[in-house]
């Protein structure tokens, strides 16, 4: 009896849960203006009368949970938006419906292999992703073994494409980004002493600081390096050290959770030197943290909102049309650079399939080397390793009054 009672209780809970889910989703579904939470639905039920089109699958290998869940969702949004804009592709005169197969790699190396295998089993012609280099490196061998090409969207670690012919990427690399930041600090800001803070045990911030220090010292500057342990929430001593040492810039390309704390505490301690960071800080989380505070945050990134007004307007309308998209984007309609990159990656994949004249992974892979595409984030072409040929990064700064990013300059390496 007791058992039955508790079973009923659990069932009621589940149903309540489900009702709650559909309730909050349903509110967003109401407007018929393309307001599907699922662009994958869009592809098969959309306006196209041809129901008998052949189908080509594009895999989306992105984290939706774990440390990089927030960034991964924004990147996925870009791909989904691109799919809603262009749900079909014409290859050799045959129209294919493009369907997205989205898996969650949970930002974890040990889940990456099975997530990748799931995409392989689904018969994807090409895979896009991932946000976070670690999972891309871990998933790479699975795609390589299956012979499926992958287009990395914002994985900046050099090791992603090194030694793996099947991995391409459309973003710049950490050595480049570190050098760009060093150049910007030394030449544009006119600073010769930098404070570099990275997280102990985080290869992204550690690697970026390493490249920054190399480039900055080569230019003639000096650096003070420090690391903080995982879970640290008190950054006052690091900020105080940076101030006492007379550093001109606070370079801390750390994860967004730590970034929020750093921004708060820098404001509380009246730190006037600019805070410099890499592409991870290009997030509305940082904007929200910086809003109304007396801080100067400058980041390098892949795309600047306003770079392509038509794209911006389209994305914003699409994001606002559905509450699910809005929550995946962090609650507002600021366009993250990773969303723009996801959008470009989707079209690079389509361009490669058209160039190959086939949906066979091996043909797509062969065609990718010579694929070029003029995207919203700039022209994309691949070099002999499979990396994008990019020589500039966008520098932008957080406007603490409007809560938006202000464009500063386009910075290259000398």
């Amino acid at each position: 009896m007791k058992k039955i009672l508790s079973l009923i209780l659990v069932l009621v809970l589940v149903l309540a849960c489900a009702a709650g889910f559909s309730g909050c989703g349903g509110g967003g579904e109401a407007p018929p203006s393309g307001g599907d939470s699922a662009p994958t639905d869009d592809a098969d039920t959309g306006g196209e009368p041809a129901g008998a089109n052949e189908v080509v699958y594009i895999g989306v290998f992105e984290p939706a949970s774990g440390d990089n869940g927030a960034g991964g969702k924004q990147e996925t949004l870009g791909v989904q938006y691109a799919n809603s804009v262009q749900p079909t592709v014409e290859i050799n005169g045959v129209t294919y419906d493009v369907k997205l197969k989205i898996v969650d790699n949970e930002s974890s190396n040990d889940k990456a292999a099975s997530a990748a295998a799931d995409l392989v089993s689904a018969g994807c012609s090409v895979v896009l992703g991932s946000y976070g280099s670690g999972v891309s490196i871990a998933g790479g061998p699975t795609f390589e073994a299956a012979g499926i090409p992958v287009v990395g969207i914002t994985c900046t670690n050099p090791q992603v494409t090194e030694g793996n012919d099947y991995y391409f990427r459309i973003c710049y690399l950490d050595p480049f980004q570190g050098t760009v930041l060093a150049n910007y600090a030394f030449n544009e800001l006119g600073i010769d002493k930098a404070y570099c803070l990275s997280k102990l045990g985080d290869d992204y911030s550690g690697g970026l600081v390493n490249y920054f220090v190399d480039a900055f010292e080569a230019l003639g500057g000096t650096c003070i390096e420090a690391t903080f342990p995982e879970g640290n929430s008190d950054f006052t001593s690091y900020i105080a050290t940076a101030q006492n040492e007379g550093c001109g810039v606070f370079f801390s390309p750390v994860s967004t959770e730590a970034a929020q704390l750093i921004v708060d505490q820098a404001d509380a301690q009246g730190m006037s030197m600019p805070i410099l960071a890499g592409d991870t800080w290009d997030s509305n989380v940082i904007l929200q943290a910086a809003s109304g505070k007396n801080v100067n945050i400058t980041v390098t990134t892949f795309y600047q909102e306003g770079g392509d007004p038509a794209f911006d307007a389209g994305v914003k309308e699409w994001i606002n049309s559905d509450s699910a998209n809005l929550s995946n984007n962090g609650g507002d309609d600021t366009i993250a650079a990773v969303t723009a990159m996801g959008y470009d990656a989707y079209f690079v994949a389509l361009a490669a399939m058209q160039k190959a004249g086939s949906t066979d992974p091996a043909d797509v892979m062969a065609a990718l080397w010579d694929t070029t595409y003029d995207g919203v984030s700039g022209a994309i072409a691949f070099d002999e390793i499979g990396d994008a040929i990019r020589d500039v990064a966008y520098v932008k700064t957080a406007n603490v009054e409007t809560g938006a990013w202000d464009f500063v300059t386009v910075q290259g390496v000398e």
Partner: protein, 373 residues
């Protein structure tokens, strides 16, 4: 009488294992090797070994330890560093910011055994102070140890050995396993099953030996066990070291399976996953741990994935979206813990003989079930 029964039991078990291995071989020959089925089978086998080694400690010796991820980390790193070819160690393709100080490389099997031995060595040293603690205190101490080990492996001062917090890769992985004395690739899933199977068999034999009976006596009542002349500390230390040895080997297998190793993945969450498998399978049941492991991995990484896809929504309900899988998964676990509080198997083991007997029961007189237990 009992000896004859045991022989029959062993024979049936061996037949069962042989059938399992043959099925694996047939699957590997017929289904493409990149299928997710093999990912799940491989990882399931690796987690079975990790769960059984944890069960030896938690279920059979009654030591509530939460250091499993730490020992797996040691095993995974030891394996990766030992088998990485020297040319790659010297180039900067993996050790980008450090100069690797390990100037040699070893074969696959020796590295795996050394990985286990290093984990066992650490267990020996940690066990000296820690095993004098009991229940909750032991759990906290081992949990702390696992976290400390992870922090140390990420420390940049020993970067020349561990590559700091950066990934290790390009060591010998499953694609490098070959048949002895030849270059013919060995079926990877079969390899994992054989290694994990041998290790689990050794643990099973240990549990059935006089040492195993001493472990169980300690679990049931420490004071009574001591009064019977069982050296408490000696046996606890032995169980701890052996468990860690096999955790180290499962770490090595895990690093083979996932092609890359990074200390940041060996968080306490990993220990909890293994603990969950042990609890779901049944504390004190080896076959339960194995079944639990395959079920857990398959649900977590394969069967429930369709819940994440919004294209699978039916009846206009919008409940299926990214993350819904985790909700359903947690509810399943809650149901299991609520209604099967002893886990799938309780303290019993799967017995093929008993199954055969049950099938045959209709013809001959009822088999004596008590004896099989």
């Amino acid at each position: 009488m009992t000896e004859k029964k045991d022989k029959k039991e062993v024979l049936y078990s061996l037949i069962g294992i042989a059938v399992l291995l043959i099925v694996i071989i047939i699957l590997e020959k017929t289904i493409p090797s990149t299928s997710i089925l093999f990912s799940v089978l491989k990882k399931g086998a690796i987690y079975s070994l990790a769960a059984v080694s944890m069960n030896l400690l938690n279920g059979f010796t009654g030591l509530f330890s939460l250091g499993q991820a730490g020992f797996m980390l040691i095993g995974a790193y030891a394996y990766a560093i030992l088998t990485m070819p020297v040319t790659i160690k010297l180039s900067d393709s993996v050790y980008k910011y450090y100069d690797c100080i390990v100037g040699f490389q070893l074969g696959l099997i020796p590295s795996m055994i050394i990985a286990g031995l290093i984990a066992a060595l650490f267990a020996f040293l940690i066990g000296l102070p820690v095993l004098r603690l009991k229940s909750d205190y032991l759990a906290i101490a081992t949990l702390g140890f696992a976290e400390i080990i992870r922090a140390i492996f990420q420390w940049d001062t020993i970067g020349p050995l561990t590559n700091g917090a950066n990934v290790l890769r390009k060591y010998l992985d499953l694609t490098d396993v070959t048949l002895p004395f030849s270059n013919i690739p060995f079926p990877p899933t079969l390899f994992i099953f054989i290694v994990a199977g041998i290790c689990i068999a050794i643990i099973k034999m240990l549990i059935d030996s006089s040492y195993g009976r001493a472990f169980k006596a300690i679990r049931d009542d420490e004071i009574a066990a001591e009064a019977m002349g069982i050296g408490l500390f000696k046996h606890k230390e032995m169980s701890f070291i052996i468990s860690s040895f096999f955790a180290g080997i499962s770490g090595a297998l895990l690093s083979m399976y996932q092609y890359t190793v990074q200390a940041s993945q060996f968080k306490t969450a990993m220990t909890y996953e293994i603990l969950l498998i042990v609890v779901i399978g049944g504390i004190g049941s080896i076959s339960g741990s194995c079944i639990g492991s395959f079920l857990f991995i398959a649900c977590n990484e394969w069967w429930l994935r369709f819940l994440d896809e919004s294209s699978n929504n039916i009846l206009g309900l919008n409940i299926m979206r990214s993350g819904f899988r985790k909700v359903v998964f947690s509810i399943i676990i809650m149901i299991i813990v609520l209604f099967f509080s002893k886990g799938i198997m309780g303290e019993k083991e799967i017995s093929i003989k008993r199954m055969v007997d049950r099938l045959r029961r209709k013809k001959p007189k009822p088999a004596v079930e008590e004896g099989a237990k």
